[in-house]
């Protein structure tokens, strides 16, 4: 017997979760952009898309967030922390690639020094993921050794049933079980067969790519210039990447009082690495694209045994000049043969 969540019970689930003190968040279409936002009722959810336009990282590592307020006096400086509120949240309807991306970034934000902004939100959030039964030509999770029904990073995995009826429920973590216990009475118990996961073809040879990237001779390869020639350095691929984690600090305020913020930054920008002296270690767009690929598929896996990519494909899907990780790794696969 397996547990089934019927679609027409979703409103009751949300009500019970709200009653238990959870904030419920899901993919909604807001200002024509599908993104994660708090919901009150099930009909606000936009579960039909292959993937929301915005990523799940917005919920854990927002585009901008205040870290603390400072107040400068003659003899003292007071700082007041803005740590995220300790509020239990349930994200309903994440995709496996987005959920995986959060687990991929955990070791980065916890590497010796723990980023309390990230971990506060991680520790208070239950991720309910819906396995993909459809994919588009940009999806590439299987190329990253993940799958349209990967469980990495998820607390509960839902597998869609036929006829849009509901989902088969898989508990994956203690946190997931806790959230499920609140809606236990609303679940059916029956033997049901879920729809098969989407067929996502493998687009490149990840191992061959890693080997090519690890070869020091290829660091100065002309390939980097050719492949990045049309990059306009807009940063879209980094901002819409669920695993991209680079940030900057900025102070907003006047001489005596203000807020220090943590903002997204991007390795695509020349200023990102520019020294005060004017020297820039990555002064060309090709050096910056090389950094992006090297970081995701060579340096990051070298440190954390995980690729810094979960194959969502947004970088390629949304690139204004039709570049992206897929093409680069396909070309590297060819070069390594």
């Amino acid at each position: 017997m397996t547990k089934i969540l019927l679609r027409d019970r979703l409103d009751d689930c949300i009500t019970r979760w709200h009653a238990a003190g959870f904030e419920v968040i899901g993919p909604v279409s807001k200002n024509n952009i599908s993104q994660f936002a708090a919901i009150e009722k099930a009909d606000e959810l936009d579960l039909g898309a292959i993937l929301p336009g915005r990523t799940l990282k917005d919920l854990f590592f927002p585009q901008t967030e205040p870290m603390f307020r400072y107040r400068i006096g003659k003899q003292q400086i007071d700082t007041e922390e803005y740590l995220p509120p300790e509020r239990q949240r349930i994200v309903f309807g994440a995709r496996p690639c987005d959920a995986s991306a959060m687990a991929i970034d955990d070791p980065l934000f916890g590497w010796d020094y723990k980023d309390s902004y990230w971990f506060r939100r991680r520790n208070e959030t239950v991720i309910v993921t819906i396995a993909c039964t459809a994919a588009d030509e940009f999806c590439m999770c299987t190329s990253l050794k993940l799958a349209p029904d990967s469980t990495l990073g998820s607390d509960i995995l839902l597998r869609p049933l036929e006829g849009n009826r509901g989902w088969l429920v898989e508990e994956l973590s203690q946190r997931g079980s806790e959230a499920l216990s609140r809606i236990e009475a609303l679940l059916e118990k029956e033997a049901a067969k879920p729809l098969p996961p989407a067929d996502v073809p493998v687009k490149f040879d990840l191992e061959a790519c890693r080997e090519w990237l690890q070869n020091p001779e290829n660091f100065e390869s002309h390939f980097w210039k050719e492949i990045s020639m049309r990059c306009i350095g807009c940063g879209t691929c980094t901002f819409l990447c669920p695993t991209c984690h680079c940030f900057d600090f900025q102070d907003e305020g006047d001489t005596y009082t203000g807020i220090r913020r943590k903002n997204w930054d991007s390795c695509s920008f020349a200023l990102f690495t520019m020294h005060t002296s004017g020297h820039n270690p990555r002064s060309t767009q090709s050096a910056r694209w090389r950094q992006r690929i090297m970081h995701k598929f060579n340096y990051f896996p070298g440190k954390f045994s995980l690729n810094s990519c979960s194959g969502c494909g947004r970088c390629t899907r949304e690139c204004p000049v039709d570049m992206g990780i897929t093409e680069t790794l396909q070309e590297i696969t060819k070069l390594s043969k």
Binding site: M67, F68, Y70, I72, Q75, Q76, I77, T79, E81, L83, L108, F109, W111, D112, Y113, K114, D115, S116, P216, F219, E220, H245, C246, F247, D248, F249, Q250, D251, G253, D254, T255, Y256, G258, R260, K262, D265, C267, F272, T273, M274, H275, T276, S277, H279, P281, R282, A287, Q291, M294, H295, N298, Y299, G302, K303
Partner: protein, 288 residues
């Protein structure tokens, strides 16, 4: 290598508040601030963790943070000294801080010079211009326990006489019989009363010809100086494994998360800033 753990700090991005207790003009546009912790708990944390070679992020709220080495040695942990050139927004506001003002500090971060491994060895320090501060931190760490080391040679050069930093300490080192100090300025940078060498650091070093036997070299300077000095050290017979240097890159977090300071796969903030020349040679040159 040191343990880089969190030390019970809840928010790793929240800086400590420091009193400016001393200020010195070193050279045109170059200043040294001496800072003391306002909070004894923060000071104790620094005392427990700071080792020579580590860096910090110094700042002024409203302007931001800048990364420099801790220029004072691990043998003197009652205060922090930092020396910087006034060039951007943060360094300009730090430069205008006066004794009695407050600034911020985050750190100490990064790795360290393995000074215990230098015990019993001869030491050669080579620095150029504004890169004397990181070298000076090692110099004093060794001079404060002088009997543990063999010969100490310091080769220091700057573009002009005015650009030499720590002039009062250069004088002190000059007068000590247990240090050989070689000072030089670039051709054209000498003043009428300049008593020392005129010439670039690599050639002056070759003339001074310190022996590589049982010797460790610490080399800090601008990239072009490092490049040619390494060639000279090679000619003198120094092994790259025994030459230590520091790398500096733009940083925001200082703790391996913000993603900008890496050279190849090496994060300067976490795995550096102290490297042997052999380690630097293994890094992709196109990323330096």
């Amino acid at each position: 290598m040191t343990d880089n753990t969190q030390n019970g700090q809840e928010n790793i991005y929240r800086p400590a508040i420091m009193n400016v207790v001393g200020k010195r003009d070193e050279a045109p546009g170059v200043k040294t601030l001496r800072l003391e912790f306002q909070d004894p708990v923060e000071h104790e944390r620094f005392r427990q963790t700071y080792r020579t070679g580590m860096f910090g992020l110094y700042g002024i709220f409203g302007e931001g943070e800048s990364t420099f080495c801790v220029a004072s040695p691990e043998t003197r942990k009652e205060y922090i000294e930092c020396t910087f050139r006034q060039s951007g927004r943060v360094t300009s506001s730090l430069a205008s801080a006066e004794v009695g003002d407050l600034v911020t500090y985050r750190g100490p971060y990064g790795n360290r010079f393995p000074i215990e491994e230098f015990y019993g060895k001869n030491l050669l320090f080579i620095a150029g211009g504004i890169a004397l501060p990181p070298t000076r931190s090692v110099i004093w760490s060794c001079l404060d326990q002088r009997d543990k080391f063999g010969r100490v040679t310091i080769v220091y050069g700057a573009r002009t006489v005015a650009d030499l930093v720590y002039k009062h300490e250069l004088e002190e080192w000059q007068n000590r019989s247990d240090i050989e100090l070689v000072l030089t300025v670039d051709p054209g940078g000498e003043s009428p009363d300049w008593q020392h060498r005129v010439g670039f650091v690599p050639s002056v070093l070759e003339e001074a010809a310190p022996s590589p036997d049982n010797c460790v070299a610490v080399l800090c300077g601008p990239p072009v100086m490092i490049k040619f000095t390494l060639i000279s050290l090679g000619k003198l017979g120094f092994n790259e494994e025994h030459v230590y240097t520091t790398l500096e890159n733009r940083m925001k977090c200082g703790v391996g998360k913000c993603g900008r300071c890496n050279v190849g796969s090496v994060y300067i903030c976490k795995e550096g800033p102290v490297f042997t020349a052999a380690e630097v040679a293994r890094m992709p040159a196109g990323d330096l």
